[in-house]
Symmetry: C2
Subunit: 484 residues, 2 copies
């Protein structure tokens, strides 16, 4: 490829300011994360996209196990009758279900849904497994594919089939189940902030936005660079709803039959979409170091005549950095220019570029370049592993700070619906407002602005006293935003 | 629970010699590995069963990555038209497919199969991705659930839905694709022998037993303790069959259009069934140390009066052994006897039991007990981590040797079909025999004995010269056995 076509190639990413949706689709295609599948609303996770998920999965799984959970696997197929047992659950999910009606050459007596979530199947099994308080709590997680036949889809953020984890736990009483619900929400918050470098707002969903079948739903909400929200994780206290539907009972310490209290909680491959939309810029992706499949790319530079000692040293550095646990690759190709490579790996979002040239070699140094700030820093070759690790940590922090600053800049507070509507007809960002608690006022906001209540934050920066729609006393202070 | 009921509980495992199938079902239920699901032919992988899969997965995945493969994820749904494109493939899989005919409240225009394997979907995508010889080889693996609507099912060994990995690679020419096919077969052999402690026979499948759509299929075959075979892994050279069907073409180094040569290879959760049937005994499971979720169980013993210092030392040992990377748990319950615990963990197949009592403490030692041989060995507490690790390695080797001896004892060689039939009407074990290569003679063996050709081993212990059925010159030396 010539340098001219190469530059063209990188230029094909639409600037964020011009069309954010086009930017997103360009960026993920150019970085080779996914492709569209020949089935409606489904995507293929290509290796660079899937490896992001593997790194998310591994680090979340460690956290689940550290908090006493174990993985299990339940069937993909859910008999139709199971959905009928929990009224709100069936109403919530029925419109999105694909149905298997024939198998092995015969029509099935009962249709089988492809799981959209597994509360019903797992409820059925827990009823068999749980007999006594000695069997509680049951703390199980499942990594699986699920399907929701979505009308409008967007790669990673909303696809008909997606990958996720779903935790399902059963407890003796409400207090213990609520503790679990909060523990897992906090686990998500900590993971999304400390691993994905995405600041989030943790809070409770309103009645109309909660999970179908839950008593209470909690979420963490993140702001994308177009100001819209993505629900990055949810945790539900299900009360005894599913225990009643599936008769999950146990003999308590006084030998009396009791219903268990259950929870469920999940995050999905939409986290990949979120981290791209939170961190990316006009040059392409910026991947958080802790989940970047390649954390650093090493590019030897300089004229051909002086190449040999540079390549020798680069090979040595590559081996040392790999041994030190850095996910690194080297691009020592001769047929593309360093400039092309710089663009290419910036587009792919590699957090750090390491340049090594003849003069660097003379000075016993290499140059580290941050993908976020573009800053260059010469570091001693003697201490390269420590320097690269410190730089990865620094890039993580830069990314978090940048995202936090953006979230704060685009977080407004309003008193009235008019104020909300007038300030910006595109409703960019999050808005804090008072809400009386009525479904009507919540619907009015949605109809007139396209924004939905994201959650009732645990720690709002201020408490609002009046409902933004009706002006009555506010029951809650709510975050509104347009959401993916 | 009283000691009496406890013994009853363990006794409920049917002896292998009485009824091997009953033994298997008893053993996996008692050890809490699985439960039956309320969907035909499906099981639930309970945490102890699923963790076996996680440990298999992790160690196989490391091997795939070390040989240059990367993971990706393709859709669960496969349009009906895709199956029609490869004639043998559709004939092979059509009878086993479940079909989604409705979704999102509407009847679908084209039925969607739930994937039984992904050659067709991946072939479609590879046709888009591969343009030039520079794009080759493509070395991708997928971890996924697949479904085959089986008539007769058996937990882990044959279930309607199961978990597996499927490698799919594309190459410039036959030589490179065949090299890959063999590399992955060898990867499976090495893994199954060195990690699962299961000796296998590697070889080529006959025409009638090969994968639907393959040019050549290779397998590793393992002998269960009832003498029947389990196909533990397969690797296929697919030639240009799928490349033709899906038009996967590339421009070669001479700028000419060529079809790629593809391979596929897989192992599944049936490995869990195999390792149980190869290693288990009348007391229950015996788990290979390298995949055992719990490698060692530490049981403090001795009278209550002397318990305190024992428990203190045991807690210390537990922490040390965990830190040394041993997957260990302690059972220091007071309400069940040591004898009950011994039985319990033997049934669950924990490779090593560690006993620590007051006298051991005085002598500065602990006692290690092998689950395979029952041998007890006193080891110095000073050096406990090294001793336990060495013992785990020894147990692995004992398991492999025991399985190898069993396989050799039950591996006969015959000249004629009469000899095969007369020797044992249950046809226990593997049989080596000559075969002329005709489908008729192969079918005759199956009809008259229930045995099928397992494979044509690469390294038969002898070469047979005459066909066991027709007496003509043998083209191949074949392993026959009844198979799961």
């Amino acid at each position: 490829m010539s340098k001219e076509t190469d530059k063209q190639f990188v230029k094909e990413i639409t600037p964020q300011g011009e069309d954010f949706s086009r930017w997103y689709l360009d960026a993920i295609r150019k970085a080779d994360l996914m492709d569209y599948a020949p089935v409606r609303g489904c995507i293929v996770f290509k290796p660079d996209g899937y490896e992001l998920w593997e790194l998310i999965q591994r680090q979340l799984d460690d956290r689940f196990k550290a908090t006493g959970h174990r993985n299990a696997y339940f069937p993909l197929f859910i008999p139709e009758s199971f959905f009928q047992k929990e009224k709100e659950h069936v109403e919530g999910f029925n419109p999105e279900l694909p149905w298997v009606t024939e198998a092995g050459g015969e029509k099935l007596e009962e249709r089988l849904a492809i799981r959209p979530t597994s509360e019903t199947m797992i409820g059925h099994m827990y009823a068999k497994w749980i007999q006594s308080y000695r069997d509680l709590p049951v703390l199980i997680n499942q990594w699986a594919n699920v399907v929701r036949w979505e009308k409008r889809t967007l790669p990673f953020l909303r696809t008909s089939e997606f990958l996720w984890q779903e935790g399902h736990t059963a407890h003796e009483d409400e207090a213990d189940a609520r503790k679990e619900t909060m523990l897992m929400l906090e686990t998500y918050r900590e993971f999304v902030e400390n691993v994905l470098a995405i600041p989030v707002i943790a809070g409770q969903k309103t009645e109309s936005e909660k999970f179908a079948g839950a008593v209470d739903t909690y979420s963490i909400e993140a702001m994308m660079r177009d100001g819209r929200a993505v629900q990055a994780g949810t945790s539900h206290y299900l009360g005894t709803n599913f225990a009643e539907a599936f008769e999950i009972k146990y003999l308590d310490r006084e030998n009396k039959q009791q219903l268990v209290h259950t929870t469920s909680w999940g995050v999905s491959t939409r986290l990949i979409g979120a981290l791209i939309m939170v961190h990316g810029d006009d040059r392409g992706l910026i991947l958080p170091p802790k989940v970047a499949p390649t954390q650093a790319v090493l590019i030897p530079i300089g004229p051909p005549a002086k190449r040999e000692p540079v390549l020798a040293k680069a090979g040595e550095m590559l081996a040392d950095l790999k041994a030190a646990g850095v996910r690194i690759r080297m691009d020592d190709r001769n047929d593309v220019s360093p400039g092309w490579k710089f663009n290419e790996y910036e587009m792919r979002g590699i957090p750090i570029r390491i340049e090594l040239g003849p003069r660097d070699l003379e000075n016993g140094q290499a140059v580290l370049v941050s993908r976020v700030t573009g800053e260059k820093r010469a570091v001693a070759l003697d201490n390269i592993a420590e320097e690269v690790k410190a730089q990865l940590e620094a890039v993580h922090q830069e990314m978090y700070n940048r995202a936090l600053a953006f979230t704060q800049e685009n977080f407004r507070s309003v008193e009235t619906l008019d104020e909300l509507k007038s300030s910006d007809d595109k409703l960019r960002g999050f808005v804090l407002a008072g809400w009386c608690g009525s479904r009507e006022c919540e619907s009015t906001v949605k109809e007139e602005t396209g924004a939905t209540s994201r959650n009732i934050p645990f720690e709002p920066k201020e408490r609002k006293t009046k409902c933004l729609v009706c002006g009555k006393d506010a029951k809650h202070t709510v975050v509104f935003a347009r959401a993916y």
